[in-house]
């Protein structure tokens, strides 16, 4: 581990930057010290895909990992330093969908939508790719800045599942990083993908679901300006309008109470018994 990452970057050997060993050597795990970060990275994913394992690998924390669903109930936060940048990493509760139907999913959705992370890493289970891609496409409706962490590749290999990673990345228009986080495999590549998005070296051109319909567009053009007038700092009023038309109760309630867009207030409402996020023990 280098104490002075600037020396590395001033040398700037291109072949060096692409080498996984070089990238791993530049990871400095900062534990729970999330003060003074440059960028925010969110970890989103279906339950039981290894989000917390990725979180621990990057932060050096011991966020409780276990092979059961619903283990991470609130956001956990940690930090890491990589090649001159400090990142706050937010581990979100497992979600099948961003059209929330549970409190945990509501917390995940509110953070991706209103927390405005610089990068959203969607951790997907390589052995259940089809179902996991639902969440990827939903995330892409909210933000372009998505990286897919194709985790559990070791299990996929064991089941003789082959995935054309490059084709997947091309079709989605975003980086796809094959990983086996339990073994530390793919962590350096994930770091590089995150870096490329925050630095602008990779500009995502995501595939988005096409909702095109005339009556829907009419309803949206009526609704979106009203939402924008009421909540001027909202990052994605169009998405909120779509959810309203869908009859999403949590969004309707947040608008009634005026808490829409305020992640902390919305979270407190979703989980009344919870005082603070970050139920983690330090190593």
């Amino acid at each position: 581990m280098s104490a002075n990452p600037e020396i590395h970057s001033s040398v700037s050997l291109r072949s060096c930057e692409k080498c996984p060993l070089h990238n791993a050597a530049n990871l400095r795990r900062l534990g729970v010290n999330t003060v003074g970060f440059d960028h925010v990275v969110a970890l989103l994913g279906n339950p039981n895909t290894g989000k917390s394992t990725v979180f621990n690998a990057l932060t050096g924390l011991r966020q409780h990992v276990g092979n059961w669903t619903g283990k991470t109930v609130a956001r956990a936060e940690g930090a890491f330093h990589h090649r001159g940048r400090t990142f706050k990493l937010v581990d979100l509760p497992g979600a099948y969908s961003l059209f929330s139907s549970s409190h945990h999913e509501e917390i995940a959705r509110d953070f991706v939508l209103f927390g405005q992370p610089d990068v959203t890493v969607v951790v997907v289970d390589a052995t259940r790719l089809e179902r996991n891609l639902v969440l990827v496409l939903q995330a892409l409706e909210i933000t372009d800045r998505v990286v897919v962490a194709l985790n559990l590749m070791d299990e996929a290999r064991r089941h003789a599942i082959e995935i054309d990673v490059r084709a997947l990345s091309r079709r989605l228009g975003i980086p796809v990083v094959p990983m086996a986080a339990r073994q530390g495999e793919g962590i350096p590549d994930l770091l590089r993908a995150i870096e490329e998005i925050v630095s602008g070296a990779f500009v995502p051109h995501p595939r988005q679901v096409n909702h095109q319909s005339e009556s829907l567009e009419r309803a949206l053009s009526d609704l979106v300006p009203q939402i924008e007038a009421e909540f001027p700092h909202l990052p994605n009023a169009r998405w909120v309008a779509l959810r309203l038309l869908d009859g999403d109760h949590s969004i309707i309630q947040a608008i009634r109470e005026g808490t829409l867009g305020n992640v902390d207030q919305m979270e407190r409402r979703a989980m009344p018994s919870l005082n603070r996020p970050g139920l983690i023990e330090e190593t």
């Binding site: 139907s101 259940r128 089809e130 179902r131 009859g247």
Partner: protein, 81 residues
């Protein structure tokens, strides 16, 4: 082709989801879990009491009650007819 709903799917047969007649939040949920038109489903486990039953869809196992499964229209796929 006779219309059939998922609650009528016999064990050992494979079917393809045609449409969802169920409405509201549960419709959204079932789609999130993989019950979308075109998805293959089969019975994974039978409850001795008959309800709920577990279905395999998109690589995962999902348990549904009879009235929930009745909101999903299916067609038996060719090979299992």
């Amino acid at each position: 082709m006779s219309a059939m709903t998922l609650d009528q799917l016999p064990q050992g047969k494979v079917a393809v989801v045609q449409s969802l007649t169920i409405q509201g939040e549960l419709r959204r949920r079932l789609m999130d879990l993989g019950f979308v038109p075109g998805a293959q489903v089969e019975v994974e486990m039978r409850n001795p009491l008959g309800d709920p039953r577990a279905f395999r869809v998109m690589g995962s196992v999902v348990a549904l009650r009879r009235e929930q499964a009745a909101g999903i229209t299916i067609a038996l796929s060719e090979e299992s007819r």
